[in-house]
Amino acid sequence: MRKILSMLQEIRQLQVKAKGGMEAQLAEVADKYRYFDEQLSGITPTSTGTAIEEVMTSADFTYAIQEFIQRLMIPAYQAKRFDFEQFMKPDLTPNFLPVTRYQRRAGLDDLEYVGEKGEARPGSVPDATKRQYKVEVWEKQFDFSMRALVNDDLGYFSDFATAMGQAARASLEKYVSRMLWNATSLAFIVGGGALYFQNGRLTSSRIAEARMAFNQRIDARGNPIAATLKYLVHHAGLVDTVRMIRQSTLIPELATNAANVIAGDFVPVEDPYVAGIAPNLPWYALVDWRATGIVPFVLARRQGIPAPLLLRRKSDVETMTSLTAAGGGVSPLMGDFATGNVVVKIHDEWGTYISANDGNVFDIQGVYYSAGTAA
């Protein structure tokens, strides 16, 4: 309204000016429109201010305004993943009993010279290597009171099923990490000798040493086998070291122009669970079981359980309208009849080869380990 009045004032003043009006008439027009403005806005010549005054502040409303509560969930942490599937051989078991796997790990005898009228000597056939393993059940149960779930106005438990699935995944990843790094597995690898372990910190030269160690692997007959370094499993603190090795044209740790021949020849896998304090960070080299037939580690699941099951105890409560009529269903939030407990459970099944001597190493020809302690 005040804008319109202002525009009318300008129009009228222009009209008076166009008709040759005097300055006094122009001033009179301005005075009159200012009067209109004052009457409309409530600001009079006797007003103490020139703007509308705020009369009710937030603080005047102790309960209606000042008691302010805003509760919001913000996004949770994003968990790291351990992408072990790429180097882990999967297997299925029909039940919880041990399954047995056999593998031919050596060829036949070499041929031998036979002279004229000579007789070929009989050869021998190496026995198969036997490995047994079974799946175990891994679970965790959570009990909630019905009231706790009803009172959850934040939606704190709304993604609980997702969190349950993530817990199962994290548990499995930790299990796999322990397969690699447990003391028995490492002692077994160290016992293999220099072609199976070292203590050096991760450098491109040491990856080359690991690769050359794989390149010299032999079977039980002493025949060379095609063992090729494919995966490099490493501590989380070695991510940039690995990137540098992979992106350098020249060997990064040497002040020479020697070519970095291993830059693109391995696939790095960060294990977020393995322990280590810089600069003594461990690393592992593994073969690709698909390409070589050498299985470093195996992860078994039971047929029909490819993923964790999220389970809830069915409520034993129903609604009723009479003692004799059939009852009706209720929300799972009601929990059990006795105390209103809501009980859920994560169920998963997995297992691996476990040996008092070998740890979890299915085939030592597929692994190379470094404690990462030597400079």
């Binding site: 175990e136 149960q141 009990d143 930790k174 299990y175 322990r178 447990n182 691996t352 476990i354 979890n360």
Partner: protein
């Protein structure tokens, strides 16, 4: 050092059993002002606390029922206890096995807190705030303490490396510094028979 009755979400260490029973706050001890001997208080119960208590008159000691608090309604001062036999909960336990009734000081200790060791509800002054259990069958006045239960394994205490689990060794027994009063967070399997039956 607890300073407060045990709280949080990991106090429950067995999936059951649960036998839920309600009592008034005045029925449980040691709780509140003057709850310890000769004076002082262990703590004031609040909803969300899960301490182990004895129930009923101290004149009955040691033949008192015991239980673990599941919920507490402070408007009515009503306590819901789990009184189920063989229920396991996580509790602070003092490793003292005997007191000098004159000085009230400890003069005996359990230096090897192992599964099956008996645990008692103890109102002795040496137990700091938030702690109601010790290894002592008698309090610092020489009165018998009600048996609460027995040290047991928590869920993650077992040696499960043999099946690919994370523990190379069991986390029990706990071995405190020799003959030193030590507050230990342990799992305790409660019984309600005053020790009259075996495990």
């Amino acid at each position: 050092m607890p300073n407060h009755f045990i709280t949080g979400t990991d106090w429950e260490q067995s999936s059951g059993p649960i036998i839920s029973r309600m009592v008034h706050l005045t029925d449980v001890w040691p709780e509140g002002d003057g709850s310890e001997l000769p004076a002082g208080d262990k703590d004031h119960l609040a909803n969300g606390d899960h301490p182990a208590f004895a129930i009923g008159s101290k004149a009955n000691r040691p033949n008192n029922l015991v239980g673990v608090v599941m919920t507490y309604e402070d408007d009515a001062t009503l306590v819901i206890l789990n009184m189920a036999d063989k229920f396991i909960s996580r509790q602070w336990v003092l490793n003292v096995t005997h007191y000098n009734t004159g000085s009230k000081a400890a003069d005996g200790w359990d230096n090897n807190l192992a599964p099956g060791d008996p645990v008692y509800v103890d109102d002795s002054a040496l137990l700091p705030a938030g702690m109601t259990l010790s290894m002592a069958p008698l309090n610092n006045a020489g009165s018998p303490n009600p048996l609460f239960g027995y040290i047991w394994y928590c869920q993650g205490d077992y040696a499960d490396e043999g099946v690919g689990g994370k523990n190379h060794a069991a986390k029990l027994p706990v071995v405190p510094v020799y003959n030193t009063t030590t507050e230990v967070l342990l799992c305790v399997m409660q019984v309600n028979d005053s020790g009259q039956s075996s495990l």
